[in-house]
C-alpha cells in the first residue's frame, strides 16, 4: 500500500531511461517492426497509421526529446541518492 506519488515519479524516470537505452539495430529495425527509417508517408494519408507505427513514432520522439533532460535529471538524482540514501 506504499504506492505514493514519489514512487510513481521514480517509476516514470526508470521507464524513460529504459526507452532511451533501447538498442536501435535490434529492436527498431525494418525487418521486425514497421519502420525506424522508413518513409512514414507510405502508411497512407487519411487512414490511421496503426498501433506499431504509432508506437515507433512515440518511442522515437521520446528518445529525441528526452535525451538531454534525462542526462540532467539522472545526474541530479544520482547525486541526491548518494548523499541522502
Amino acid at each position: 500500500m506504499a504506492f505514493t506519488l514519489y514512487s510513481l515519479l521514480q517509476a516514470a524516470l526508470l521507464c524513460v531511461n529504459a526507452i532511451a537505452v533501447l538498442h536501435e539495430e535490434r529492436f527498431l529495425k525494418n525487418n521486425c517492426t514497421v519502420g525506424w527509417g522508413t518513409d512514414q508517408g507510405i502508411g497512407g494519408f487519411g487512414e490511421e497509421p496503426g498501433i506499431k507505427s504509432q508506437l515507433m513514432n512515440l518511442i522515437r520522439s521520446v528518445r529525441t526529446v528526452m535525451r538531454v533532460p534525462l542526462i540532467i535529471v539522472n545526474s541530479i538524482v544520482i547525486v541526491l541518492l548518494l548523499l541522502f540514501g
Binding site: 500500500m1 504506492f3 505514493t4 506519488l5 490511421e48 498501433i51 504509432q54
Partner: protein, 309 residues
C-alpha cells in the same frame, strides 16, 4: 477593504445560485457560468457601511494613527501595496499558461440539483435513457443545465471525503496516525495519475479522434470515489457483509456508467447509429472502453479493502 464589522452586520447575503429552469435555456447567457451578484452586494454594503463603520475607527484609531503618521512607514506601506498589486497582475496574466483557469470554471459550475441527480445516476444508472451531452453554440452546456456533463466538483469532494473516511476507518481500528492520511491521499492520487496516463497512452496508440479532454477523463475517473465512500461507510456500520454488498452494487453501477458514458465519447460513430460494434478499428475501441470500465471496480476494491476489517 470593508472593516470586518460591516460584513457581519451587512445585509443577509442574497442567494447566489438561482436555478434557471431548462425552458429558459435560450435566454440564459451560455458563456456566463455563474450568476452575477456583484451589483446587489455592493449596494448592500454601501448602505451599511455608514452607521456601523463609525464604531470601529475610534477603537483602533490611536495605534493605527500613530503608525501612519510616520511618513517613512507611510511610504513603505504605499510601496508594499503597489508591489503586491504588480505581483497580482503578473500572476493573473501568467496563470492561464499553466492552469487553464477558464476551462476549469466550466467544471465547477454546478448546483445542488445537478449534484443530487448525478449522485443518483452514479448509484443507479440503469434507467437513464439519454446519455448525450447537450451542446449550445458549439460549446458543451455547463453541468448545471445537463446531468450528463462531466464536472470536477463531485470527484474533488469525493476524493477529500474518501481520505477523511479512510482516516475514520483506521481510527476505529486503532491503526490511525496522522501521516497515514497523507499516505492514503498520495496513494489514491498516484493511482489516478497512473490511470489517466495509461488511458491517454492507449487513446494515442489507437488513434481515436475524440473530444475527450484530459480534464474530462480526470472527472470520469474521479466518480469512483463516491462508490468507495459508500462501501467504506457501510463496512464501518455493518462489517464485512455490508461492505461487500454495497461495494458490489457500486462496482456494477460504475461499470455500467463508464461504459455508457465512454461509448459516446470513444465509439462515437458506432454508438450514434446504434449498430453492434464490428470491424478491427471499432473492436479495438470497444476493448479499450471495456478495459477502462473494468479497471474501475478493481481499483475500487484495491483502494478500500485494507480499510475494512
Amino acid at each position: 477593504m470593508h472593516p470586518a464589522g460591516s460584513a457581519a452586520a451587512g445585509t443577509p447575503r442574497q442567494p447566489s445560485k438561482r436555478r434557471i429552469p431548462v425552458s429558459h435555456l435560450g435566454m440564459a447567457d451560455p458563456h456566463q457560468l455563474f450568476d452575477d451578484t456583484s451589483s446587489a452586494q455592493s449596494q448592500g454594503y454601501g448602505a451599511q457601511r455608514g452607521p456601523s463603520g463609525l464604531g470601529y475607527p475610534t477603537a483602533s484609531a490611536s495605534p493605527q494613527a500613530a503608525f501612519l503618521a510616520d511618513p517613512v512607514s507611510n511610504m513603505a506601506m504605499a510601496y508594499g501595496s503597489s508591489l503586491a498589486a504588480q505581483g497580482k497582475e503578473l500572476v493573473d496574466k501568467n496563470i492561464d499558461r499553466f492552469i487553464p483557469v477558464t476551462k476549469l470554471k466550466y467544471y465547477f459550475a454546478v448546483d445542488t440539483l445537478y449534484v443530487g441527480k448525478k449522485l443518483g445516476l452514479l448509484f443507479f444508472p440503469y434507467l437513464h435513457q439519454d446519455w448525450e451531452v447537450q451542446y449550445q453554440q458549439d460549446t458543451p452546456v455547463a453541468p448545471r443545465f445537463d446531468v450528463n456533463a462531466p464536472d470536477l466538483y463531485i470527484p474533488a469532494m469525493a476524493f477529500i471525503t474518501y481520505v477523511l473516511v479512510a482516516g475514520l476507518a483506521l481510527g476505529t481500528q486503532d491503526r490511525f496516525s496522522p501521516d497515514l492520511l497523507g499516505l492514503q491521499a498520495s496513494s489514491a492520487l498516484a493511482w489516478l495519475t497512473l490511470e489517466v496516463l495509461a488511458i491517454l497512452l492507449s487513446l494515442y496508440l489507437i488513434t481515436v479522434n475524440t473530444d475527450l479532454t484530459t480534464i474530462d477523463l480526470v472527472a470520469f475517473l474521479g466518480y469512483k470515489y463516491v462508490g468507495m465512500i459508500g462501501g467504506i461507510l457501510m463496512g464501518l456500520l455493518f462489517g464485512k457483509i455490508g461492505y461487500y454488498l454495497v461495494l458490489g452494487w457500486c462496482c456494477m453501477s460504475i461499470f455500467v456508467f463508464m461504459i455508457r458514458t465512454l461509448r459516446l465519447k470513444i465509439l462515437a460513430e458506432a454508438a450514434a447509429e446504434g449498430v453492434p460494434v464490428r470491424g478491427a478499428r471499432n473492436q479495438l475501441r470497444m476493448y479499450l472502453t471495456m478495459a477502462v470500465a473494468a479497471a474501475q471496480p478493481l481499483l475500487m476494491y484495491w483502494l478500500t479493502f485494507h480499510l475494512v476489517r
